[in-house]
Each structure stands twice: as structure tokens, then as C-alpha cells.
Symmetry: C2
Subunit: 347 residues, 2 copies
């Protein structure tokens, strides 16, 4: 679906320097701290008064994405967003990224243009500068490695280890949608493989498809914290599923938790989709992953500020380590939380 | 050759978190600026008084390395060194790296240990902290993406665009050895493929093999510049071959150059190897690449300081743009320099 055939030029015809020129020709640096971007051995960043956060992610074809139903522009957008999300999860602001790709020479130049269009769009929307990277061939599939650099005042940085007993556990947006979008795409792919004449049945599911294919990072929440002078006690972004992430916070903060299943925010489209798959929607939220929402804990003192924000749901509270890490189900049963999140290694 | 069979554990048995624990368990942060390393969403770097440089490289199996003759420990070492070299080429000091890998679950855990042993050894030798990264599966080969962060005083940073007419063109160490080491390994691999009973003939070639398999970055030159108060007018590291790199400097500085073939430093082992391959040794220097030496230009005023350093060869001088980019051959012919360096895309 994402193949464009207008131009038949192959990457192998462009060569490495041609490809780099093509990718970097229209890059502008907008952040004051971006002193130098691509074109030298390394980019240069000025960071006089701030601390720098840095995070790297690597996406490989067939493991993290399937090009049969992932438009390359969306893939580029998502690859950038995933890293911005990690920076926001430190209560920091992403400012620069480097993008390294390994790609087969058999890809069309248009394909690579689409990929970078998505990356550059994400940079524009989030006010991040693309300052460097590497382009390289691959004998097989596409690999994208991104490093994002963000900045924050020292005293605003939020780690995973600061959650305290009685803190509120909060989550932004809704959960499980990205995973259900993925299940839908996989289902329609199978149908298509059996009968290529069948049109994929995707109508009405835009929201969960977008959540999977073109997620956003929670910039507005970090801005809200800044405006309201809230500093979460711990924060993490939800890439592997709610269970896995809350366990990270509990482990690093040496605390327990009580999560209430009925409080977990699920979008109505996701709820319907889960029903079609005969799945409990909160299972998708707990174990699905790739939501790129923020999970954070705040002091009870911040309750009044938090409750006013429609993007934030309070889903539980922190307890002592001895009380365990519990999910209170809708049937009021106490279930121990387990990390069944993303683990492509174990198959 | 690099397969270790003592332990049969596969990466797929460890799972992602097990693998991360294994890799990160023994990491220590030694640089004051490394506030936080692995374990949160992003690493944290303090850079109060300095500017930050950042560089990323991506190595893919079958394109950048061949595991049939590359020990994984050396590969890890080299993957780190390549990035340190880029940082030094800015006249900056590498301080942190993030390492992202995509690897097949079929690799042994020992194999991954070896890879990280090499990365960690390089970090130790160069006083760099491993502060983050990503581990992920790959459906096919091994991919390594590294981002290095370095720091420098603002007024010491050296770009590619500062070379001036009459500046001396200098290079560190010797050139062409890494490429000839690669040719030797490729030759012995072919012999081995035809007759697996043949032992590879590598004796006496240690130097060029090491230059290919386990290169070093020119830390001591950057320290020398600092001590002698030399600031090169332009600098680049030699990853793609001397021709390609001097052309980068000429292009970005808008100047010409005269390089003297007889001045190009070639090691005696490399010279002998070139002869065996019926190749002019300077061809390996000009177009071979992967030497990770520094190519830089300095003002004539620095001549006295430079000439005292046995690691530095003066190989030519900068001219005006109109005079062209010339190699003066040993036969005193003027030949236009062309970039025939590394270009895996064009095949």
C-alpha cells in the first residue's frame, strides 16, 4: 500500500552522498541550542544552563513494523515520536535527534523520501532539530536507529524512583488502542493474503489505527506540569504496556501499588474492537504496549490540579512494598500484576 | 572463529529484560557529567560550561563487518572507536555513548557478552561512559547503532570549514593499513571456503589485521593539541579514505589543495601487502578508508610544534579554490583528486 511508483530511481543509483544530500538538503535548525547540525563529524549542542537527557531506540523491519501495512511516512513519524516520548517521560523537552538508517539499495528513492518526510514532520510538530545520523546499506530489511536529546532544568527532571506511599497513580489519554489497532491490521493482512481481492475492513476504526500507525507524544502534559508547577514524583512512558511500566516504577521506587481496573481509560472504539476479538479491553491496556501515554505518580497535594485536566486519569495509588503490586479487578478481586509486556525476544 | 560454545544459552531464553540486566549489570559511570546512565527513559548529562557534540553510526552485518572472521569483542570495540574518532575529529572529548543493537534470538548469550566486552573495553580505555541504548531482535543479522556524546570548550571546536590558503595539511599515523588488512582477510576467507582444511596465512600481518579489526582513535593527538595550544583550522577523521576526506575539507572550506603522494605515510607491512596484491600502496591510503586517523589543517605558524610530533605527517598544503584539488604523484604528475571512498550503496 505504501509503494510509490512515480519515480523509479533506486537508492543504489543515488549513492551514499547523494542520499545524504537528498535527506539533509531541506533541514533547518530552529533551537537556539542547536549550534551545528549535519555536515561535520558530529553535531554541536549548546546547553549552558540545562541538563541534557539522551535516549536511543532502534526499530527493525519485521519485528517493530510491517511494511505491508505501514506507510513509510507514518513509520518515520512514529520512530521519532517514540524517542520524544522517552524524553517527555523525564519531564524534559526534546530538542535534537540523530537518525541512522540501514536500508536495502533496492528501496526506491521515493520510499526513503517518505520515511524522512515523516521524521521531519514529527520534528516540525514537536520543535525538534534533526542534527545528524548515518545512512548505510542493509542486506535485508530496513532498520531505523534514533537518538533524541532533550533538556530540562536540573530540579525538574523526573525519574522512575521517586514514587512515595499514598501518591496518586495517573495516566494520560487512553490505553490499549495502539495494540488493538495492530491486531486489526494483522487480521486484515491475513484476510488479504488469503484473498487479495478482498478490501481491508478498516472503516470506523480510524482512531485505533492512528494510535498504532501514527502515535503522538504527550508534549501538552509536560507543558501542563510546567504551567501548574507540578513535579511528578515518578514518571515513565507506556511503550510496553501499563503492567510492565507500573512495575518498573514500583521496583525502582521500592513501593507497592493498587491499580483499579475500572479506572483504566479505554476509548470506545478500542472497547468495541476488543469485544470483536473476544478480549477484555483492559488486557490490551495492561499488556498491549505502544500507547506512548505517560504514567506518573504525584503527591496527594497535587490532586486538585490534576483532577482538572481531562487528559489525566487517576487509576490507583502507591502503597508500601509489603502490600504488593495489585490490580483490583472490576469484580473487586485482588490480582498480582505481572509484566507480560512487549518481549519479542521470547518466542 | 568467534563462536564460543561453552554456554549454550540463547538470547531467546534470556528475554529482553534478562539481556538488558546482563549487559548493564557491571556498568560504572566515571565522568562527572554522567548524571544518570541506563535504567530510566533517558540518560542525563550535565554540561554546564561546555558545548556538546553528538555523532551516530550504524554498522550492519554483511555490509560493515563479516562475522566469519571478525571476533565479536573486536567488533564491539571497533563500533565504539568509530564514534569516538568522530568526536575527536571535532577537537572534542568523548564522554558518553548509547548503544542500540538488533540481534537474532539465535545468537548465543556468550556472543552478546563478547560484543559488549569489546564495547566496554573501548569505553574504559577512552574514559567514556555507556549511558543508554536499546536492545531489540532482528529477523536476520546483527545491527549496531551507537551515538557518542563529547564535550569541548566552545572556542576549541574544530569544524571542516576553516582551512585557509597556505595551511599545512597533516595526517596522523599511517594510512591504507586497515583496507589492506581487510583485503587479506577476504582473501583467506575465500581460500578457506574452497578448502576448509587450509589454515589462514595471517602470520607477520598482525599490524594490518589489527588496524582493520581493532582500530584505535587518536585521543593522544587531541591531548597534544591541547597541551601545545594548537587549534587546527579544519579537521576530519579518515573513515572513507584520504581522497574523500580532503575533498570534504576543500569543499566546506572553499579551497584547493596539493597533496604529495610521496609524503603519504604507509606502514611497511601495508606496503608489502599492497605489493602482494599488485596494488600501489597509496591507492589503499587514498581510497581504502577505515583508518580512523585524523586529517587536519593548521596554520604555517604551528609548523614548529607539529613537526616535533612523530605521529604527524605533513602531506601537503591548502591552495586557492581555483588551483584545484591535486595529488602530486611520485612521478611529479598532477592528478585531480577524486572521491572513490567507501560507497556501499553503489554496487
Amino acid at each position: 500500500m505504501n509503494e510509490e511508483k512515480k519515480e523509479v530511481k533506486l537508492i543504489s543509483e543515488l549513492g551514499e552522498f547523494g542520499l545524504i544530500r537528498r535527506i539533509t538538503g531541506d533541514i533547518e535548525l530552529n533551537n537556539e541550542s542547536s549550534v551545528l547540525g549535519v555536515g561535520d563529524d558530529a553535531a554541536v549542542i549548546d546547553c549552558s544552563q540545562k541538563q541534557i537527557v539522551i535516549t536511543s531506540d532502534l526499530l527493525t523491519e519485521g519485528v517493530h513494523f510491517d511494511l505491508t501495512y505501514t506507510p513509510l511516512k507514518h513509520l518515520g513519524y512514529k520512530a521519532a515520536i517514540v524517542n520524544f516520548s522517552d524524553v517527555y517521560a523525564m519531564n524534559a523537552i526534546p530538542k535534537q535527534i540523530t537518525v541512522s538508517i540501514a536500508i536495502s539499495g533496492k528501496f526506491s528513492v521515493n520510499a526513503i523520501d517518505e520515511l524522512y518526510k515523516g521524521i521531519k514532520l514529527a520534528c516540525k510538530e514537536y520543535n525538534v532539530d534533526l542534527v545528524g545520523g548515518d545512512t548505510s546499506t542493509s542486506l535485508t530489511g530496513l532498520t531505523i536507529a534514533i537518538t533524541a536529546i532533550g533538556e530540562a532544568d536540573k530540579d525538574k527532571l523526573t525519574y522512575r524512583n521517586g514514587a512515595k506511599v499514598n501518591d496518586l497513580i495517573c495516566v494520560t489519554g487512553d490505553l490499549g488502542s495502539a495494540y488493538l489497532g495492530l491486531l486489526l491490521l494483522e487480521r486484515e493482512k491475513k484476510v488479504f493474503e488469503v484473498n487479495p481481492k478482498m478490501q481491508p475492513q478498516l472503516k470506523g476504526y480510524d482512531y485505533i489505527l492512528e494510535r498504532h500507525l501514527k502515535p503522538e507524544a504527550r508534549k501538552e502534559i509536560i507543558e501542563f506540569f510546567d504551567k501548574e508547577n507540578i513535579k511528578p514524583t515518578a514518571m515513565i512512558d507506556i511503550s510496553d504496556g501499563l503492567s510492565s511500566e507500573i512495575l518498573h516504577i514500583c521496583q525502582q521506587s521500592e513501593v507497592g501499588c493498587r491499580l483499579f481496573e475500572e479506572k483504566i481509560p479505554i476509548d470506545i472504539v478500542a472497547g468495541n474492537m476488543a469485544e470483536e476479538f473476544h478480549m477484555v479491553s483492559t488486557t490490551a491496556a495492561l499488556n498491549g504496549g505502544e500507547d506512548y501515554e505517560l504514567l506518573f505518580t504525584v503527591s496527594l497535594n497535587d490532586y486538585d490540579k490534576i483532577k482538572s485536566n481531562p487528559l489525566i486519569s487517576i487509576i490507583g495509588h502507591i502503597t508500601s512494598k509489603e502490600e504488593g503490586r495489585l490490580l483490583i479487578t472490576e469484580g473487586e478481586q485482588e490480582v498480582e500484576l505481572k509484566a507480560q509486556g512487549w518481549n519479542t525476544m521470547k518466542k
